[in-house]
């Protein structure tokens, strides 16, 4: 099987794992925070600030995970470019496709 095809597959698998893992953890963190914030928001004296903190918490969690996914995509694109280079370097002079070991 083509070596670079497998490298690209490995890169894609790791990228998928980070993307889906981040989405799943974000969902858990947002869900987990719902109950304590809901309880705090029922106390009249602190309901307004609790709602504010809840919003900030959710925004911070989503932004953090959004950044993780963004960096993941950028790293993925960079690795694609590197693998393209390896593929070009491996290609025989005739211009035919490279064969992996």
């Amino acid at each position: 099987m083509n070596r670079t095809k497998r490298l690209r597959g490995l890169k894609q698998l790791l990228q998928d794992a980070v993307e889906h893992g981040s989405l799943a953890v974000e969902r858990v963190q947002l869900e987990r925070a719902k109950l304590p914030f809901a309880l705090l928001e029922r106390v009249p004296t602190i309901a307004a600030p609790a709602r504010g903190v809840h919003l900030i918490h959710d925004a911070a969690v989503s932004t953090t995970h959004g950044m993780i996914r963004l960096v993941n995509r950028v790293v993925g694109d960079t690795l694609d470019a590197v693998i393209d280079e390896v593929e070009r370097a491996d290609a025989p002079p005739s211009g035919e496709g490279s064969e992996g070991s």
């Binding site: 099987m1 497998r6 490298l7 698998l13 998928d16 799943a24 953890v25 858990v28």
Partner: protein, 317 residues
């Protein structure tokens, strides 16, 4: 490519191979015949190189879940295929496939591949022997079922089929995993739901092992709760060929063997002991070989298993 890397990729394919294939991932293994460790070019020249120009009797070896053809290797470097070649003149062909795909899909693909082998062989094929370890035996049965429906030319050439540690009635470990996943998913908590989602990532191939689902429609009969006994099975062993069912066990003690089988496959499942209600097959065409003290994986490369296979060839078909 190194053997360790091939094994790692095979394990990955067994675990999430259906996802890899669906997403067009380059790590997805395509079904190929392997010769001297390299995928065989399936054309006349490639096949002649692998089996020779005089071969008219073939044995096809099919590995199990997360395996490669290297599972067959005995410590002395031989394997069941090379031994059958040396002693009886059968030319061995080793299959490599994505064991994470459904057994039905792999069976249909194997049926197509064998059709091509019969067509491209340098000499007309007189006999085809199919030998599968674990899931490989189910893939063989799915291929035979597909071939009987599609009326493939190779099916009448199969006089012997050998199943080594094959869970004909399913594997309880997967059925337990199925129940665990459902239990955890039913807890109304985001963390347990996440655990259930991770458990559900296991491939179609692994899921099919639970009840030995050979056809896509068989999945509809999956029990909603854990069956403590092996289920009955709707697809019989085909008539028109002889079947050898080899079952190992973790211990020579019959009570331990009855409880744990070969550690992964119970004796009842490996020997296809149907309960009333399952599809009946002709027991006269079946031979069972019980080999105490050989656990599941070792069944693929044990001289005592080869002896049982060798004896099976001494009997007339």
């Amino acid at each position: 490519m190194g053997k360790k890397l091939e094994l790692a990729i095979a394990a990955l394919n067994g675990l999430v191979g259906d996802h890899l294939a669906r997403s067009g991932n380059g790590l997805a293994t395509e079904m190929v015949l392997v010769h001297r460790g390299e995928p065989l070019e399936l054309d006349r020249a490639g096949l002649a190189d692998a089996i020779g120009t005089e071969a008219s009797r073939l044995v096809v070896l099919v590995h199990g879940l997360m395996g490669t053809e290297s599972v067959w290797e005995l410590p002395d470097g031989s394997d069941y295929g090379s031994s059958l070649a040396g002693e009886l003149g059968y030319a061995p062909l080793y299959l490599r496939y994505n064991s994470g795909l459904s057994i039905a899909d792999n069976g249909a693909e194997l049926a197509r591949l064998l059709e091509a082998v019969v067509e491209l062989a340098p000499r007309p094929i007189a006999e085809l022997v199919l030998l599968g370890h674990s899931m490989g035996g189910l893939v063989i049965r799915a291929a035979c079922h597909d071939a009987s429906v599609e009326q493939r030319r190779w099916l009448p050439l199969v006089e012997r089929a050998i199943y080594v540690g094959t869970p004909h009635l399913g594997a309880p470990l997967e059925r337990a995993g199925r129940v665990f996943s459902k239990l955890v998913a039913s807890v109304p908590d985001p963390v347990t739901r996440l655990v259930a989602q991770v458990a559900d990532l296991r491939s179609d191939g692994i899921r099919d092992l639970g009840d030995a689902d050979l056809r896509h429609e068989d999945r509809a009969r999956r029990a909603p709760v854990l069956g403590l006994r092996d289920p009955s099975h709707p697809v019989p062993l085909l008539d028109g060929m002889r079947h050898l069912l080899v079952a190992g066990s973790v211990s020579a003690d019959p009570r331990v063997a009855a409880l744990f089988g070969d550690a992964l496959v119970p004796l009842e499942s490996a020997t296809f002991r149907q309960r009333p209600g399952g599809a009946a097959h002709d027991d006269a065409h079946c031979e069972v070989s019980l080999l105490p003290g050989i656990p599941h994986l070792a069944l693929a490369h044990d001289p005592r298993v080869y002896e049982a296979i060798r004896r099976f060839f001494e009997e007339p078909t």
